[in-house]
């Protein structure tokens, strides 16, 4: 093995030979000389001694300058090691030497240098790093990370200033950088990019606004949703808007702002905005939906149904249950049942565990197809109670529903407190799962839980 190669070379290693005996006045010089020798050593463990000191010891700019000056003459792999140590040292005195390597010829060295600049640099470093965003990984990733961790408001200002002139792919990355820097003060500068000509930029802008924005950004984000291309971009844009209206600070005002816009929007725009309306939920949105459901225009009733089936919590359960009974056709009925199955166990504190299970049991009674029943059984495992376990258990014996029942039993058994509190019952059920399921992962999990082991989700 190669690792033995150095054994013999080390015998005469100059770095560790006889100890120096200098007096106090020579201590610093001796220290630097030793570190120099260690940096040049062939053995990584010797070099690690030097790097540890460079990282955390030997305070002072003179030491920084000494080792920064050594960078240019080292081979590439050693440059990378020393760059990482100097970055951790945190002394900006190393920056000029590092900046040179960031524009040198070796891509791995450039990456390490860019990363180091992130830890040591300031606003002045932004230009260099933005330029590197146009490169490929790992340089691009290093530059992006560096832009995120650069310290100071001036760095943020420079990053924002770079947005305007950047090519779309770089601009999109810069928007993510602004978001990761949590630069809330820059939000007004971001909103325009929600309707950028480039879809990548639009998506990144919406992502950034979702992270940093508040009620004031709702009008711009609605425009972003409307500007998004149907499909994944639209879905992502909607998610961003919903985040602002349901999770961020000031989400109630954001919802109000959204509803105001919705009510005055054109029919075409309302059609697009129905989906986020349903996902935002709440009484204001419900009033809008109720009006749509009562409309004489079938198209508007369909809008209402779409919104209702995408509701974010279980407050619409009574309405949905009532509508299932009166569903005009099988397809509508399926959509309503699907919505009920989805919302019943949501962890939103709208229902307690008992109510959640009751809602699923009610839904189960309304199901006419095994496929729907299976969905109920599988969804039930989100309610981690012994009552759920008892609800699911009988379906292990129904061949057409056994597989979802097996999955739910195993998911419930994953929760050790629940499993241990009803150990014998779970053991029997897991035995039945092992004998029944055709899913090898469920068998493996069931066996682990029976043995008291855990299972790491992949």
């Amino acid at each position: 093995m190669r690792r033995f190669v150095f054994c013999f070379a080390l015998g005469g290693c100059a770095t560790l030979g006889l100890a120096g005996v200098g007096g106090a006045a020579d201590t610093a010089a001796e220290a630097l000389a030793r570190l120099d020798q260690l940096v040049d050593a062939n053995d990584v463990q010797e070099r690690a001694i030097a790097y540890e000191q460079i990282r955390r010891g030997m305070k002072g700019e003179a030491t920084t300058a000494r080792f920064a000056a050594r960078l240019s003459a080292l081979p590439a792999d050693r440059q990378i090691e020393l760059l990482r140590a100097l970055a951790d040292r945190g002394d900006a005195a190393a920056l000029p030497a590092i900046a040179k390597l960031a524009e040198g010829g070796n891509p791995a060295v450039r990456s390490a240098a860019l990363h180091a600049i992130g830890g040591l640099g300031s606003g002045e470093s932004v230009g260099l790093l933005v330029k590197a965003l146009a490169a490929t990984d790992p340089e691009k990733a290093a530059a992006r990370r560096a832009l995120v961790i650069l310290r100071g408001d001036e760095a943020t200002r420079q990053v924002v200033a770079a947005l305007a002139g950047a090519a779309p792919p770089v601009r999109a990355q810069l928007l993510d950088v602004v978001a990761d820097r949590r630069a809330r003060a820059a939000v007004p500068d971001l909103v325009g990019y929600a309707v950028d000509a480039d879809s990548g930029v639009r998506t990144a802008a919406m992502r950034a606004l979702a992270k940093l924005g508040g009620p004031e950004q709702v009008p711009a984000m609605v425009k972003g949703v409307l500007a998004a291309a149907a499909g994944q971009e639209r879905t992502d844009a909607e998610r961003a808007l919903v985040t602002i209206c349901t999770q961020n600070a000031g989400h109630e005002q954001a919802t109000e702002s959204f509803l105001t816009i919705f009510k005055t929007a054109s029919d075409a725009d309302r059609e697009v905005l129905l989906s986020p309306l349903g996902r935002i939920g709440g009484p204001g949105a419900m009033a809008v939906v109720d009006a749509l459901l009562a409309d004489t225009d079938p198209a508007k009733r369909e809008f209402g149904l779409v919104a209702l089936t995408r509701w974010p919590d279980a407050t619409v359960a009574p309405k949905l249950l009532g509508m299932v009974a009166k569903a005009p056709d099988a397809a509508t009925r399926d959509r309503l049942l699907g919505a009920l199955i989805r919302i019943a166990p949501l962890p939103d504190n709208k229902l307690n565990d008992k109510q959640k299970l009751e809602l699923l049991e009610q839904t189960m009674k309304l199901c006419e197809k095994d496929a729907d029943r299976g969905k109920v059984i599988e969804r039930a495992n989100a309610i981690r109670t012994v009552e759920t376990f008892r609800f699911v258990l009988p379906y292990l014996d129904e061949p057409s529903l056994a597989e979802p029942a097996c999955k739910s039993v195993v998911e419930l058994a994953h929760h050790q407190k629940l499993r241990d509190a009803h150990k014998d019952d779970f053991t029997k059920a897991l035995d039945k799962v092992i004998a029944t399921t055709k899913n090898p992962e469920l068998v493996e999990r069931a066996n682990r839980y029976k043995e008291g082991k855990t299972w790491a989700r992949k």
Binding site: M1, R2, R3, F4, V5, F6, C7, L10, N42, D43, V44, Q45, R47, A48, I49, Y51, E52, E81, R84, D88, G118, G119, V148, I149, R151, G152, D153, R181, R182, R184, Q416, K417, D420, G452, K453, T454, A456
Partner: protein, 423 residues
């Protein structure tokens, strides 16, 4: 990386370093030495073994075994079922029967082809094994809670530093589960942090379980190790995650109970968010149950910078509008005057905390949960446990690693290890 382990292998060829018996183990040449498109050649892989392959250990084993830059060669467990299971997984992965299986960790540490070990034993073993591993030249991934007593931490750090070892603690949650409080705090959004509230679990129990016949598949004396001799009982040594009396995590000889088990995560996450990981507390203030009995006892961990962490403080005493909260019973108060952002430390390498450890084994840098940071975390929780046990406030001197002016509390800094274990 290739010259990584040269010297220690030379030196350790004929030595074993703990007070226990020295055991020479055969050198085993691993298979698949040449590597392929996705697997580095054997000479560039980190050669690993695992000690304690039960519940958590098997998970750690799986994480390391799945890495192309790791060659897993040995398992050690005092229980046959875990040992055999661990070996089977390795052999199945590599398609051979090469994985060595040991009952005694000293035999595994004596193998000079092993670069690093992961340890997931009950807590009474952590310090002994970590220190022994450092002496044996191994890097260590150590499951949390990393320490069982206050005296152990500095000795573990010293061993790691003395031999230039990478020793990572094992709470993956600290970085991964608390982002919603970590990011705004490090971004300076809530200003200078003044205080926090934390829900933390109870301390461990004394174990009074009766003896049972010792099954043949366990080396009971080695399972107990440095802990007091007690008769075998399945409930004493079961390796599940419970802390309610049906596992070793419940009992004071082997664990700090839920207080250190989840505390390593939850308290760890909080002091990471509040950037206190580099410090140790200055004191713990104990607040007894209120005279009217309405408020239960609670304690406040106070840091040298003045930050107070209230543990299980009654709800009505908490700020009604905290700056930020986390679903696991954490709320943090800042002064609201935004401060400069500081970059959040992250894992190195790829693959979460396991990847961080392996990357550091290669680069010799300190990992995200370096043993020193882990010990600082555990120190706060051990101080809390002792204050609660004694029902009084305690002051801590970091320099001497002792309580100030409280001889009785200092009785609890450590506990005598059962012979022949010594640190």
């Amino acid at each position: 990386m290739t010259d990584r382990s040269v010297s220690r292998r030379r030196f350790l060829a004929s030595t074993s370093l703990t007070a226990g018996s020295a055991v020479a183990a055969p050198y085993v040449i691993t298979s698949k030495a040449l590597g392929d498109a996705t697997t580095p050649p054997a000479s560039d892989r980190i050669v690993m073994g695992g000690i304690g392959i039960g519940n958590m250990g098997s998970g750690d084993q799986g994480a390391f075994l799945g890495r192309p830059d790791v060659q897993y060669v040995a398992v050690c467990d005092v229980r046959k079922k875990w040992r055999d299971g661990g070996k089977d997984r390795v052999d199945a992965k590599y398609g051979n029967k090469d994985c060595a299986a040991f009952v005694d960790f000293r035999e595994l540490l004596a193998r000079d082809d092993i670069d690093a070990v992961h340890i997931a034993t009950p807590d009474q073993w952590h310090s002994v094994m970590t220190i022994a591993a450092c002496l044996a030249g191994k890097d260590v991934y150590l499951q949390k809670p990393e320490t069982l007593t206050l005296r152990e931490g500095p000795l573990m750090i010293a061993a790691a530093r003395r031999y230039g070892r990478v020793v990572s603690g094992g709470s993956q949650r600290v970085l991964e589960d608390y982002r919603t409080i970590v990011e705004p705090c490090w971004a300076g959004e809530i200003g200078t942090i003044r205080s926090a509230d934390l829900s933390i679990g109870p301390p461990p129990m004394a174990c009074y379980l009766p003896g049972q016949p010792t099954p043949p598949d366990i080396d009971w004396d080695l399972w107990l190790g440095p802990a007091a001799w007690e008769p075998y009982n399945a409930g004493r040594c079961d390796g599940n995650f419970g802390t309610g009396g049906n596992s070793w995590r419940s009992y004071i000889d082997y664990s700090g109970g839920s207080m250190t088990d989840w505390g390593a995560h939850n308290f760890g996450g909080l002091i990471f968010a509040t950037n206190l990981r580099g410090q140790q507390p200055a004191k713990v203030e104990y607040h007894p149950r209120s005279a009217d009995g309405k408020d239960g006892a609670y304690a406040t961990i106070v840091y040298p910078t003045g930050v107070e962490i209230h543990c299980n403080r009654p709800q009505h005493l908490k700020p009604q509008k905290p700056s930020i909260t986390h679903e696991r019973g954490i709320q943090i108060m800042g002064d609201g005057v935004a401060t400069a952002a500081t970059p959040v430390p992250v894992y190195k390498g790829q693959g979460g905390i396991y990847g961080d450890f392996i990357e550091c084994v290669k680069t010799r840098e300190r990992p995200f949960r370096d043993i020193e940071l882990a010990v600082n975390t555990m120190t706060g929780i051990h101080m809390l446990a002792i204050a609660q046990r004694l029902e009084r406030s305690l002051a801590w001197d970091r320099a001497t690693q002792a309580f100030t002016g409280d001889e009785e509390a200092n009785h609890l800094l450590d506990r005598a290890r059962r012979e022949p274990w010594i640190i």
